[in-house]
Subunit: 404 residues, 2 copies
């Protein structure tokens, strides 16, 4: 009743987004996650909106984790981390390359504590190479990975900067790749079907590279043809019409009527059958060449109706479409609710709130949200007593010395 | 010498982006991937730019896979697929829910062929719930998942539609979650550390849900405070300055000087020490409240210099920054090259081209790109002879009947 990864223990020494996000995904699927934070806590606890000093984001970001504080700078911290590593399957971190080594937590020492440990590091540019030490925030990873260039209107349309996706996308995608690396390494280590069973691993995920790996044909098209992919705003370069159109109420609706039969239905729905006789719109190729004119016609039509009216008509004509969901739309969506993907949760620190469900969904649906993001150091004693076997007196002494 | 997933066989009955992308990631890490396509081939082979009918995207999307054709509509196809499923660890598909059942390839039948098969399905809205049958393209998944709303300028800045990220992001993220599900299920099945070892799985990934799961605090902030997260263009709502700024040459540079010491260095670099005395910019909170004015000052400064000059100065003052990379920048990047993340590859169908490397990177770097995307049906005979044990005569007969 607690997910496919029951039996795996993850030691997270992460902060901000990438490593903690990866650990959340693993915890969602049933892994046991021990998060080590400095005594002041992971700064992400305060990011975004806040209620009495507690961030709703943290409620999700820290869920299903056990949180303990360790001051890594204290000389006695090293042994605690090694004791925990010895009982863990995975160590997951996202400091700058080499940072943990400074506290004596280099790979050789970690392997002495646990020879087959799966050491997983997430960083901006990777653990090796001439650029490994550069400062990298998520936005930089997205820019270097080639995504930010494409998240923009077509050249010449607007003199505004290319937008962020609006979320920490580079961190999240790097986190997902880290989870893939971890589960691949654990399968290799634990399966007799693997010819390298018993073997640990050292996994090295860079934000820049995680983003680059999603870029479809951008790199081979440049390599083969010298073609530099350009941004295309709300549309798609190779098919039309597909874009977002504003309705009378100001809300945007997405319409993807980019096949001949769908385009016919769209023209019938708009009561503009003359478009079907117009040579500019006679084929996908023609429509792509005249996208701007076509989008203007559709925009003119949608702006006459409220969002609900437009949605109703599009559904009636079975044209792939959707309003552009904001947070309230996501929260209210019947399909998300039916599949447990929007869940009403009571967080002891926040009260009633909403959480996204567990992805990927296993059919037996056996990965519940066990608890929300705990307070700083909430499980420090429990972990030191139970997993490392320290006495209460010893823990009290460590606390006095500022180690935990 | 061929990746951590050597020993795993994936049967891909996928098309377009999501399932084939997931299979690419698994193949990159050493899994054996058998891709079943209709006799006309996966339409994605023609997507994007093309050289003599061969798409550079396909070179990457199909790499490390063995491709065979099967006409699923033919009554004799079912047995071939079941024979292949019987020797596979995973079946991965992304048809509309229920589509494979129509060819007799329902779950019960698949499990008869291979009881512990890991069946993985990717769809727009998921396999269950009132909305499961809706048409879903990637752009719709991104809109329903709440991302498209945020990939936009702040309300009132421009009357332009919110942009796509520029790539099939919803498909790719759903693909990554599918890989996580697959590896979690295989670990559970094959590890003695799991209390459910030997058990297969049925994994159900929706594009909409994969996107929703990345949305940081959007859902809990709405659930707790009723706050609807708004887009913020090139900036970040909670910190400043961080944005893209245009240089004299027209190219954009990203500057993230959003801490007090970084902001000080930026002002010194711009030779505008008076900004440090300006109460509007005296703290992060103050800078956030006056982002527009601050961005205008920085924009005015960057527009006086060419990209290379601005980059040089930012590096000298150690301010986190980067040009916004286009395809040519990615291809030329020293760090990507040093880490094998941009690789020169010869594709028999295209000639010399460039591929992104394998992510996540294992330290031993034992996951080479073995081959580029094969031609349609290139391995049909080899697979039927070697894996299913058909004779050459039988294969010839099946081909004559239009089954393969």
């Amino acid at each position: 009743m607690s997910g496919p990864l029951q039996g795996i223990r993850i030691l997270e020494i992460g902060h901000f987004v990438a490593a903690p996000f990866a650990a959340r995904v693993l915890g969602d699927l049933g892994a046991e996650v021990i998060k080590i934070e400095p005594p002041g806590g992971d700064p992400v606890r305060q990011w975004g909106a806040s209620v009495g000093g507690h961030g709703p984001w943290w409620s999700v970001h820290g869920r299903n984790k056990q949180c303990m504080t360790v001051n890594l700078k204290h000389p006695k911290a090293k042994k605690i981390v090694l004791d925990l590593a010895a009982t863990s399957d995975v160590l997951l971190e996202n400091f700058r390359p080499g940072h943990l080594d400074r506290f004596g937590l280099d790979e050789v020492t970690l392997r002495t504590a646990k020879p087959d440990l799966v050491i997983t590091r997430i960083s901006g540019y990777g653990q090796t190479g001439p650029g490994r030490d550069r400062a990298a925030f998520g936005v930089i990873g997205e820019a270097v990975g080639g995504l930010r260039y494409l998240t923009d209107h077509a050249p010449g349309v607007a003199d505004l900067p290319p937008v962020r996706t609006g979320i920490s996308l580079g961190d999240s995608v790097a986190g997902l790749y880290a989870v893939i690396g971890i589960m691949s390494a654990l399968w290799r280590r634990d399966s007799e079907k693997s010819s390298a069973s018993g073997k640990g691993a050292h996994i090295d995920v860079a934000l820049t590279e995680a983003v680059l790996s999603l870029l479809e044909g951008v790199l081979p098209e440049y390599g083969t043809l010298g073609k530099i992919r350009q941004p295309t705003g709300g549309g798609i370069a190779t098919t039309a019409p597909t874009n977002a159109y504003r309705t009378k109420s100001g809300r945007w609706v997405l319409i993807a009527a980019n096949s001949d039969p769908l385009f016919e239905r769209l023209c019938t729905m708009m009561a503009l059958p003359e478009l079907l006789e117009d040579s500019r719109f006679a084929s996908n190729q023609a429509r792509v060449a005249h996208t701007q004119a076509l989008d203007a016609v559709i925009q003119n039509w949608t702006s006459q109706f409220d969002l609900a009216e437009v949605e109703h008509m599009l559904a009636e004509y079975d044209i792939p479409s959707s309003r552009i969901f904001d947070a309230a739309d996501c929260a209210a969506d019947e399909q998300f609710r039916a599949r447990g993907m929007v869940q009403e949760i009571t967080d002891p620190l926040l009260g009633k709130t909403l959480h996204p469900g567990v992805v990927p969904r296993f059919e037996e649906n056996d990965a519940p949200i066990r608890w929300t993001g705990p307070a700083i150091g909430a499980q420090t004693d429990e972990i030191l007593l139970g997993m490392v076997g320290f006495s209460e007196d010893k823990i009290a002494a460590l606390r006095k010395e500022g180690v935990v």
